[in-house]
Symmetry: C2
Subunit: 343 residues, 2 copies
């Protein structure tokens, strides 16, 4: 039996990630959009042959008037594919307000928290999400336009912990062809319509422009770059964690980093270690390349003792002879440099 090409691609991706194991369960995040509908359909058609269970999970983000219709659509689809569905709802606006963050970030957090609850209830091996090669390409451009470093540019990997992405090598075009062929309907842009203005401009304006003017294969080229970068970033991050284990300690609410070994580490590893330390010290939703470079420069300076570097979120870095102390800011009148560079 020859499998339809999208189903074959999903099959290969599952084999490569080793997920789910035979007899295991896979939870599929189902928004009702084209990508997740195609993924669910492909997994449903593979489950018997490969010996695993498929369960769908749909979260109503409550961000748009039509979101209840999305839930009804998903329920009907799951009935027709004979897939059990967990439906939930979340207060994304409330979370965004509480955390003083953006809607998109709050929605993502609620979604992954929901997927993990369903995974636990179902004792599932992994969660499958429907990111495609086009998402990979768009994300790389978005981050590049902002000026991220390699760790920030790094793309999504086929598997990160218990999350697998079986469509990562599949283009949106292939997704749509599969849906047409199978006569499946989907909901347009159901989960993130109002939060994705910038991404939509990359998708509908920048990528077609690059395709026409510079490289017709730009989507594949960007996706490959993102995936190679993801491997390099994972490697540097692993080394940074090993470095951090040797140089970081907590002391009365502050995170202390030993200066000398940090200053002497290769720049790439030191940068990644500082990024992780800043995140661990808290207060930063997003660590900018600017802060990382400032901390590294001061760590490497000859006599930075006593210097204070204000950081966002009410934190600061204080440089003593031997250590860098990351802690709540105590001084007054110091203003943190913004961690974002875009206007």
């Amino acid at each position: 039996v020859r499998l339809p090409s999208l189903v074959a691609a999903v099959d290969r991706a599952l084999q490569a990630t080793g997920m789910p194991p035979r007899g295991g369960t896979l939870v599929v995040g189902l928004s009702g959009g084209a990508d997740s509908v195609a993924l669910l359909d492909a997994l449903a058609s593979l489950r018997r042959r490969r010996g695993f269970r498929v369960v769908a999970a749909h979260l109503d983000h409550g961000l748009r008037a039509g979101s209840a219709d999305d839930a009804a659509f998903c329920a009907e689809l799951c009935r027709s594919l004979d897939v059990p569905l967990h439906a939930g709802s979340a207060d994304v606006r409330g979370r965004a307000a509480r955390e003083r963050g953006g809607l998109e970030q709050a929605a993502r957090r609620e979604r992954y928290a929901f997927l993990r609850r369903v995974r636990d209830e179902e004792a599932a091996a992994a969660v499958a999400v429907a990111h495609t090669r086009d998402d990979q390409a768009e994300t790389l451009l978005l981050r590049l336009l902002r000026g991220a470093g390699a760790t920030g540019l790094a793309g999504m990997r086929p598997r990160t912990g218990d999350v697998v992405r079986p469509l990562l090598a599949v283009s949106r075009q292939e997704v749509l062809a599969h849906l047409r062929e199978r006569g499946l309907a989907w909901r347009e842009d159901p989960s993130n319509a109002d939060a994705a203005h910038r991404r939509n401009r990359v998708r509908h304006e920048l990528i077609p422009y690059l395709e026409e003017r510079f490289n017709p294969g730009i989507r594949a080229a960007l996706a490959r770059t993102a995936s190679v970068l993801a491997d390099e970033a994972a490697h540097v991050r692993a080394e940074a964690e090993a470095l951090l284990a040797g140089v970081a300690r907590e002391e009365s609410g502050a995170l202390l980093l030993k200066r000398v070994p940090l200053a002497e580490a290769p720049t790439a590893v030191a940068r990644a270690a500082i990024r992780q330390a800043l995140l661990r010290a808290g207060g930063l939703a997003q660590v900018g390349a600017l802060h990382i470079d400032q901390v590294l420069r001061l760590a490497r300076a000859k006599a930075p003792s006593g210097r204070r570097l204000p950081l966002p979120g009410g934190r600061e870095a204080r440089f003593t002879r031997d250590d860098i102390r990351l802690e709540k800011r105590t001084g007054r009148g110091t203003k943190a440099v913004s961690s974002r560079e875009e206007p």
Copy 2:
């Protein structure tokens, strides 16, 4: 005394790279274009204060009708700045034909060979080239459009061996402002007019488009990304060299790599090691991500014994139980996959 801003930037860059040492000589690559004229002027105005000598080197590539005028212009400029000039000429077309490569690559090789000859004659400490922040940004986009991995995306570093780039943090706008202020003339695009079609489109079309539609600070953002990637790539490359020292050996014209340690290395390090091995085995002007991935996949496969992978340049990779042999192709009828992905 407060230095003009471009001179101050060059001064800072020299301090950071430690080049040239006090009493040493710096050879400046001088094309006659805006960037190299500004760099030469800045270095000439710093030489006394910082105690080093400056010597210029101009290579006539013989690619355009007006190239002799460029040489005359450089001679006049050097007289007015009181800088000794080495002028040379090269047969770039001949080299390109002999090596079956592009004009741009042949020109670059001739240029660096000439700069190193001048460095040796002058017993100079280092060679300075006039790459700017804009070059850094353009190169990143060019490579990204082609789909390079991180090592391929990685930007230029302020210093690589004996080559320093004192303008790498300076924008082209600042270069032009400096020339205006100092009343200095320059030659338009003298060295690479016919070879730089694609780069010119990135410079004059893509970057202004991104600036207007997505991020007014795109040049700085891209340059920062390129420089962070350069550090990460340098680190991964150093580890790859260490890995290669343990797994590679030469045997009757073939380069042999031990399969198991290569297959078990982190993906990023293994990729970089394979890239270096393919270059060392010869025959490839440019190693594509595709070949690297194929070699790695076969190295990691369970039973690849006897498999042959044709490579460009008449080479092949042959997989035995313990080794990967990179050597001249012996079989017939195998066609190499192209190492380039663009049309």
